[in-house]
Symmetry: C2
Amino acid sequence: MEQRSAVNIANSLEHMIFDGTFADGDRLDEVRLAEQFGVSRTPLREALQRLESSGLVTLIPRRGAFVRQPGPLELLEMFEVMAELEAVCARLAARRMSNEALEELREANIRCQMASEAQDSDLYYAENERFHATIYRESGNSFLEQESLKLQKRLRPFRRQQLRFRGRMAQSLTEHEAIVAALTSGDSNAAANALRDHVTVQGERFQSLMAGLKAAAS
Amino acid sequence: MEQRSAVNIANSLEHMIFDGTFADGDRLDEVRLAEQFGVSRTPLREALQRLESSGLVTLIPRRGAFVRQPGPLELLEMFEVMAELEAVCARLAARRMSNEALEELREANIRCQMASEAQDSDLYYAENERFHATIYRESGNSFLEQESLKLQKRLRPFRRQQLRFRGRMAQSLTEHEAIVAALTSGDSNAAANALRDHVTVQGERFQSLMAGLKAAAS
DNA sequence: AACTATCTTCTTGTATACAAAGTGATTGAC
DNA sequence: GTCAATCACTTTGTATACAAGAAGATAGTT
């Protein structure tokens, strides 16, 4: 696992938290991780602080760093905010979007469709992210774009699960087409509502998934 | 200036950036600041990293830390996002808000009115922030609340200038009353629009201020 | 005289050493 | 036998020492 540099370590740890190497509440031992990465404690502590600022870790003074996975309630809240953020992006983009960008959206959608037909959820997810990121960009507000990308990244591991559901990719595609149609006609409200609903569906799916798991556990 | 602990240093530096001790683009010398605060470079670097994550400083590898004040364009973008965030808060709060919280808003508004009559813009600003923060809280979404508070904090020094304008406090008060009325009647759309407009006004005021400065400089 | 290359110096990034605080275990007293 | 207090050990926080890279100056060449 020999790897250098503080920011790379943060990315590696982030990935390890996402893929389940560390569970919620796990304590991240500085000296242990430092020797695993082949560095000293200094850059590792820097990495932990970066993870804290992106919300994946809580740093308790004199106690250490603990993995902090958002619980069901917080995830729902984050999905709600994501839906509203994307709705704002869509509303702005409907007025400001160029024809080239609209074409870009359609092309991304075609690639989504191919991925859907191939039942390749990984590819679908990648193209889906590009679809959404294009709308963020076309909001014409780069601060909004950055904030949206940040939240998108944070919700990535949870959004990804949604696509495993049977028929979800096809439904998602249909929603994408409605979004493109609204953006093409320049209808701000329709675009905002379409995108809000599109994201909200994922939050609700997630909610039912959590409810199912809870029921199975009891 | 002798002061201890990394997080306190971050707050002090933040304050120094806000009050103009450091100008935009200034390089923050680690050793110089370290001895000014009476600590070593280690906690000071930690503070700089915190400031980077909150957007007040950019860390260029092997080059140093530089103060990063948002320019006019970025500020307008941030005001636009703030307006939309608060609109979302209002829309959610209109449905979820308790009677106690509504009473809290009215009381905050009364204190705003007293501050306005006393022409005390500092007091007005403090009470105004509480008014807004109450709405964030009553959105019932603590993630949204936290994000709104973060952006509110970041825009604080710029919002504050607005109140110096003649008649702005009185106008702001009138808008507050419209917001309370919409929230009381539970009208989500009216509340969202009222709050969006209320914040957007500040962004536009800021824009005209910047335009004025620019014209005066040329 | 101007441009380039190298060397020196200054600054950042990393490692290690040290100090302080917290946790747990062991021992003593009730 | 149980509870509490003290002591030891573990772990975080900070300082210092060291390494590496970037900027600037000086000298040499064209």
